[in-house]
Symmetry: C3
Subunit: 473 residues, 3 copies
């Protein structure tokens, strides 16, 4: 292979010439729109610290990215050898060139995966790499990347501008002091980087360190959390603080979307057991089901958009969790019952014009069966973008096919990249923009929508839906 490594400029467009030319026209209208990132996991320090860098190639592409290292792990590469930090003190590979070598030797594992597509786009179009990674060329590519990463155009702040990110929302613990956000606001980045209120570490009683987190909550809120009532007050205080700091939304994670209102004495009893370390797994599940209702009530009152991500059984692999902690690629989806699960919440708030809920699921069979019908009825409910494993070309197609006919475009919330991998943000949005344009082109050439409407819809997918869903200015 002497040809330089490239990506097809027409990638993700159907090969039918008529459809492809419509897709190209639609894409040319949205390709350059600014990026809205209403949900994601970029550390705010990366942008708050003007001296922050993206690190080594291994730190950029492998070590913090469970999409990448879980695939290598599944094929027998120990995570220790990939430099993934351990929580049990096991030593890991510290030589980032060796980590990079292992990755390049196994680059074929990413064939036909979305991760492979993002990595290729970043390496080729962001970093100017001209060779597909192999064991042979690994160190040569490492040298090339190191050189680029050392240059001023590759600092996070330079890239933020180059990527044309209009707004980037981070995800922050309820107990976070938001000091990085304060620093960003002080520098005039307040409208560009916004915090999101994610209280799971204090609302999920089964969280490791929950009792400690409650102490932290008391400290940061200034409200002594001694019972359920003071707990709610402290949460309310934190929400107000987040709103002052620019937050537009909250985010909640739950194994299932079950919601249920407990009686005052039940919920107080559970909380009090939790405070004294006696809450069990059943208590935790019921508390989550109840607290989602409290969060919805607060959202109706304070106007923060509520996001719910449900359907993953976290930490499926205990040995891996013990050695490497959370969020290391061992979270596995389960079937979800949104229709019955969300019913109490929607009965309480689904018709409330002050309230907005955006939901994200991992059970694709619920798209057409439950999520699209719910979003196509309840005024308060929007369906979020295809999430996690389904943030992929084929995942997006299945989402569009299953959702749009029933929910309609306008009951969905556009795209978010949901990533920690800052440098991958444009690649992820590009896959969404290409895929939605091609899907719309399919609608045009089969006479379901005309090209004028398709143009409007393409702009909605790329920009408008997210802007309105999150109330971005």
């Amino acid at each position: 292979m002497n040809m330089p490594w490239t990506l097809d400029p027409d990638r993700l467009f159907d090969p039918n010439p008529g459809r492809r030319s419509v897709a190209r026209r639609l894409y040319s209208e949205v390709e350059g729109l600014p990026i809205l990132g209403p949900h994601g996991h970029v550390p705010p320090a990366l942008l708050a610290d003007p001296d922050a860098t993206l690190g080594t190639p291994a730190e950029l592409f492998i070590i913090p990215d469970h999409y990448v290292f879980r695939m290598l792990y599944s094929q027998g590469v120990p995570m220790e050898e990939l430099g993934v930090p351990t929580v049990d003190g096991t030593p890991g590979e510290e030589d980032h060139r060796r980590v990079w070598q292992r990755f390049c030797e196994n680059f074929h594992l990413f064939r036909a995966t979305p991760t492979g597509l993002w990595l290729s786009d970043e390496l080729i179009n962001l970093f100017g790499t001209t060779e597909k990674p192999t064991g042979e060329n690994a160190q040569r590519i490492y040298d090339h990347l190191q050189e680029r990463l050392a240059s001023p155009e590759y600092t996070p702040r330079s890239l933020f501008a180059a990527f044309d990110v209009e707004v980037l929302c981070t995800t922050d613990a309820a107990t976070d002091t938001l000091e990085h956000h304060a620093a960003l606001r002080a520098e005039g980045w307040g409208g560009k980087v916004l915090p999101t209120f994610r209280p799971d570490a204090v609302t999920d009683l089964s969280t490791a360190g929950w009792r400690h987190n409650i102490d932290l909550l008391s400290r940061t809120s200034g409200i002594d959390v001694v019972d359920y009532r003071s707990f709610l007050e402290a949460l309310q205080e934190r929400r107000s603080f987040f709103e002052e700091m620019g937050a537009l939304a909250t985010d909640h994670s739950a194994t299932t979307p079950h919601t249920e209102r407990l009686s005052g004495s039940e919920v107080e009893g559970i909380f009090s057991r939790a405070l004294s370390g006696r809450a069990d797994i059943e208590d935790a599940a019921r508390f989550t089901a109840h607290l989602l209702l409290e969060m919805a009530t607060m959202s109706a009152e304070d106007g923060l958009v509520m996001q719910l991500h449900a359907g993953s059984l976290r930490n499926h692999n205990t040995a891996v969790r013990r050695r490497f902690g959370l969020d290391v690629g061992a979270d596995i989806p389960i079937a979800a019952d949104w229709t019955r699960g969300l019913r109490t919440l929607l009965e309480e708030r689904g018709n409330d014009p002050r309230f907005r809920l955006i939901v994200f699921g991992l059970d694709e069979s619920a798209y057409s069966r439950e999520l699209a019908p719910l979003a196509g009825h309840y005024p308060a409910l929007l369906l979020g973008a295809p999430w996690w494993f389904f943030d992929s070309p084929l995942g997006m197609r299945r989402y569009l096919d299953a959702v749009m006919e029933t929910a309609g475009l306008y009951n969905t919330a556009g795209f978010n990249d949901d990533t920690r991998a800052f440098a991958s943000i444009p690649s992820r949005h590009d896959v969404w923009r290409r895929t939605t344009c091609d899907w719309l082109a399919g609608m045009v050439v089969t006479g379901v929508v005309d090209e004028e409407d398709a143009g409007d819809m393409a702009r909605e997918f790329a920009y408008g839906l997210a802007k309105r869903a999150y109330g971005l200015q």
Copy 2:
């Protein structure tokens, strides 16, 4: 946009030239076949009364059609403002021009939805509308439609002939006196409009007004329903009456497809509790599960084809039900277990050559997993058309893809429009005919079936399957 608003004559055909030309050829053979409507909700009075009209444009397209107004409601348009009748006395919009205005202002919400496609087809091809609805042209279109609706070609009876409807089956309560059907028979329409026996209002113990319905059943059947035994006798009497009036089928709705045989004393106990107003939700579920077996037994004896529609959790939104009643767009599907649910029924009747059951579901994941394997084994079972949310171009494609390889064409029951919206009947059948022809064209160009077989199959999809499934002459 100065070009008149049109629909692509090749709509829903794949753009590949080879496939498209096969699709066109197949479609040209079935496009003009008569329409069979073996299941639907057209009020028989619409055809029995020679003076009946389709009403105003709002009455025709919006007010009675929950497919339409639920989409507007989901985007914050109050149903009162759409003229949807309330059951709690709340006043609603009475000016149909204003209702129409709201609809046209929001016509973009139907982009890429099946409702949008039917509406467009009706407006363009049935009513000769030349402009896509907008807030600006809404009243102009209203004037145009009013004029057409006032002309004699747009009476229901004229349209029935123009649509070339061979048979239209309505859906009628067990307690219905079928006077409209009697009138139709007296006028010689007996073979064209047929009743269907739908006993849910007396077999579902949780129906609002159930006790009253039982009194009505006593009255119409002439059998005093005082216990379970007389209840069955009354049902049998009504079935006989429906058969005399031309009925070919029964129809049953259930939240789940669960069937279970209760002991004589159990079922008598439940029925007696229900008569005295003491049956609970669990009683109602068990009674439904048992009564489906009784209905299957009666079908095996009297030859009425049994239809079962299962999988919707009705009235999900209590506030909406209180204000607007039933069937207003707030019924949401749930996961279904057909394999275990139907087992008792199929053990009892699945091999009985006198019995036929046609099932309809809303959990697409069950198509390939349960419904196609069941239909592909049991002689008595046929799989009905994609239902409700899935009566759509992409819904049909998923159905064909998931079902046909396992069930085979001949274990399915063709198409039915399942609609109250009389004027939309040809549009709905046309989507099915186009989609099945295009799907078959895909099979031809990939060498899976030859074009001769595909022609036979296209005629089966459009006409033959439904004719045989329901025993239409």
Copy 3:
């Protein structure tokens, strides 16, 4: 139709010219690769006995193949009239020409089904039939087939060579003496036809004749099975024997993929109840859940690859089971919970480099939700080919679309034909090879993989994945 009956040489390739030409190029590279059959149900006697034949056309295509006769049964053809052997003494059709006649009269039932495609490929390309079967030509085709079947090129051993089968694994009861395999080894076929250890008849306590099977196990193992401990010893002995006879793998069937470790006293209690005929259905389910863990432990120790086929509710139709026994087309899939079901097994063995588990399911909604994420994380887990109803062109496409982006190619196990129908083996592999090549061609023309990578991947799909997954030399 005067043209001879043929199959399109480009069948299963997308009609887009660019995609089709890539598909052709990829297919030309894998079409001729040897066949690996790592899982199937061909009786070893067919190859061990040099005088074995394929029998009459009815014996070859209809009588033993539930894929075929269940479709005829579903359309009202009694299985007795198809010569399917009964277990209750009911006499059946003995004239194979009449069986063949019924089949040919109903050949249209197989339109667009995978069975129809295999049958067509066999009839046309293996047997040189030039007419599509009908009632009219049935006996003429019978004559033609009889003539071919009598010729020496159509003996199983000749076909084995002609098919270029490199390895064929059979499925054998734990109590099997493997005499046919011994005969094959004695003749030098040892590397070509290998046994697989399938212990269901002794591990599933609900098996009819289980107690008798345990006696057989005692006899064949030489270990007197008197309690749970001696049961495990006997199983271990049999596994060793199978390994000596060339086995590479075990195979296990379960209604659900549930695994659970019972305490020593629990499992001993269940086994002892079973020995005395007092185990109930719940005991059987828990025993299976536990025994899968024991089998995984033994696999980690002896290196036999473990296969698990789960998700079918066997013998759904009691009347059919009573008359015809097991495996007659009345097994219906159910929804499966792999994430929670396999958790205990994967916690115990999922990270064990000595262990390999290959899973096969029948709930397609679990592909993207559970199976691909699990296979994309656990080093020990591979996802098997689309199974049974999904061993079909569209089933394979759904599998590839749903699995590959998340699991990656290399966490899957290639193809196996899973068939009793020896003569259909090349047709089944050919459908897989064509479908994977076309799927890859779709990836190439949309710029997701380059053609060089696609070539590697096509060879993996056709040959490499299965070879490595099962440790074939």
